[in-house]
Symmetry: C2
């Protein structure tokens, strides 16, 4: 038989211990930071009904972008490409029993069927943070603050990232005010403005003119991109979106978070379901300047499941690949190999094996990680194994140490050696120094 | 449009925060215990080539038991039903660079296409522990000890579980010795013995007689099931398997682990790939007495990928559903709602919002988890929210406290109240008491 390929499936990754340590470090920081702000962790299944994604994004897009198939009972299933439909389903399922506002987060793997490229794999891990059941700016602020605090927990500061903020209600209202049209007309203009950066200037202007906008109106919309929040919202002072933006920026300023944030009329986020605040977090490194992740307020998702449900949400998702690129660019990943003591118990043939098993247990009892060297190689090979395996110390116990009830501990970094009594207390005292 | 179902897909689970806390507690214990013995964590992709499972279990079984489909490039894929083929592939991919013996573990979700029933879901989480590159009993002992230590970490003792141990080499050799046949004849007899408990006594004896065994030979095999390890291995003293069993049980005895272990000729584990030590961990609760999980030594898996590879492995897998049943039966799950302090910052309308944002930050700085109450409900409702949300304390700051630079902290369990200065130091001092 032909030998099988050793490669992981295209666009997926193997996490060997070094990569896994990094992933655990990434998400350990996230978990610690969010738990400190009383966000609670949840999770859902990898497989969901395909309908869930079709209802949100349309059947064609859902089928094209997911790994989907039909089970033997004829149910259409998809491997989740994102977490939001799952969490909306979960909230809907227990709608009456939950303690609102919910502050929830999740760290899970997702699959998207796309061509693998930098920052975009087929399997990725994603942090999702959401607040449900609070429809005022306080929740927007809390969610944005959590994103800032997660990045700060890695040592990032305002020279490295910036949160660009806009508001979909304000966007629609100010376009309607400038265009002088009704909501439906404004919706058509908004769609063109949404695609402004994806088409040539010429095509953009021609589409705007087709919808009846004058050069002056087009210039007024252009001017919004350079404005601060006060100037922009003054154009449309009665808009609920303008009031939300002003409350949010006022609180950001008074709490000192404004140094991490800026108003940006260019942030729209194409997804139809955003209804209020929208934001994207940019990497400020010149070589990497782009949006890393984003989110916003969506009011209608739970309504897909429960008629007339009025549970609004605000949240964001952050992928592990994007985060790793950011941390590498800004040199924020520390050396993860050192840290805690990790002791290899080396072996000689003239000492009974069980004495080494007991020594390893005694070391663990003293509070350090310890393992026996398994197998029976020469002493030099055992030391090589310890060094290559990131052990910080080796324990050496020959016949004479065994007789005396002692053990030699060799520090592989400091290159020092000490003799300790072979008791948990004595070993704990050694490793606490 | 019809509303979508709020139920998770059949055989899968939603993990709301309470269930997620339990899952994190389960696997936090596992991670801590295994890391303390220098096992390293790894992970692999959810999707693998279907060939991987077909090579191990046959194409028919692989297709029947997995969720599998074909991607747009015509590749047959399966959602992993188990971890072993993935880890064997990962070892094969870096065979020349790894530091043997490898002590690896993984905590991942798997999918099996089967009818959901007690202890068997379609999506489950599984711990996998393996040692690669050591083919002697020391690695078997280390793996079995890790299983014992994981269960002990939950507070389980020898009255609650027992590790039943056998050896496939010994099994084959002792059958051959009693049957007096060659290896091929012994293999045929072994297959019948393997199915002993799955057929009637009558059918068993008739199959054995068809293979030429006498009543006396059948009785000799029957007797093995009641024997201790010394008596059993004495029947076949030259078998490598007998020597392995004796070394293993000798070390278990001398290290005091024998109280958790027993020899059991009935442990075979049908899978063709086990080659040496095999074991199953039994729940000793009378109402639940059965094998919870198991494993053993397999020498040929890496060989599926690399010609003539000689990297043997020994390991086991433990599912979260089985583990939860065991811990519930033995009342080993503590109340996870208390523990660390978690403070809700309550709000009054006459205090500026940013003062509360800062208070929550100060509380976090003092080392406790804290969240603002979002939204604007009456004080009584805020307290209800705190109680229902497992907050241990509420912080109260009205206009007078704000003016004085103080904050009232109410302990929701002890029903006491204290006034603290609104500084990280003062709050840290309060929460350390």
């Amino acid at each position: 038989m032909d030998k099988l390929s050793v490669q992981p499936y295209k666009g997926t990754r193997d996490f060997y211990p070094a990569e896994m340590k990094l992933r655990n470090w990434f998400f350990g920081k996230v978990r610690g930071t969010l738990t400190q702000s009383c966000f609670e962790e949840y999770d859902g299944p990898m497989l969901e009904s395909l309908d869930l994604y079709a209802a949100k994004s349309g059947e064609e897009l859902a089928k094209e972008q997911t790994y989907n198939f039909t089970d033997r009972g004829g149910r259409g299933l998809a491997i989740r490409p994102e977490m939001t439909p799952t969490v909306a389903r979960m909230v809907a399922a227990k709608m009456g029993e939950l303690n609102y506002p919910l502050k929830w987060f999740c760290i899970s793997n997702m699959y998207r069927y796309e061509r693998p490229q930098r920052g975009r794999l087929r399997e990725f891990w994603q942090l999702n943070v959401d607040i449900f059941g609070c429809d005022t700016y306080e929740a927007d602020l809390d969610v944005i603050q959590s994103a800032i605090n997660v990045l700060r927990a890695y040592g990032a500061d305002e020279s490295m990232f910036c949160v660009h903020i806009n508001n979909r209600r304000f966007f629609n209202d100010v376009i309607a005010a400038i265009a002088g049209t009704d909501q439906e007309g404004a919706r058509r203009v908004s769609k063109v403005v949404d695609r402004k950066n994806k088409v040539t200037r010429e095509a953009y202007e021609s589409s705007m003119k087709e919808l009846g906008l004058s050069d002056e109106q087009i210039a007024k919309i252009d001017a919004l991109y350079g404005m601060g929040v006060k100037e922009a919202t003054a154009l449309c002072p009665d808009s609920q979106g303008a009031a939300e933006l002003n409350s949010l920026f006022d609180a950001l300023e008074k709490t000192g978070m404004d140094k991490y944030c800026t108003f940006d009329f260019g942030i729209i986020r194409g997804l139809d379901y955003y209804t209020g605040t929208v934001f994207e977090v940019f990497d400020l490194a010149p070589e990497n300047n782009r949006a890393m992740f984003g989110g916003g307020r969506y009011d209608n998702l739970v309504g897909l499941f429960v008629k007339n449900a009025k549970i609004s949400g605000v949240g964001y998702g952050m992928g592990d690949v994007t985060l790793e690129n950011f941390l590498v660019t800004h040199k924020l990943i520390p050396d993860l190999t050192g840290g805690e003591a990790k002791v290899l118990v080396t072996r000689f043939d003239d000492v009974p094996y069980e004495a080494y098993v007991k020594l390893a247990d005694t070391l663990r009892e003293s509070g350090v990680a310890a393992s026996l060297y398994l197998g029976s190689k020469k002493f030099g090979k055992q030391i090589d194994y310890a060094v290559k395996g990131d052990y910080t110390h080796v324990a050496i116990m020959g016949g004479s140490e065994l007789a005396e009830g002692t053990v030699k501990i060799k520090d592989l970094n400091a290159r020092t050696e000490a003799v300790c009594n072979n008791t948990a207390e004595a070993l704990a005292a050694y490793f606490c120094n």
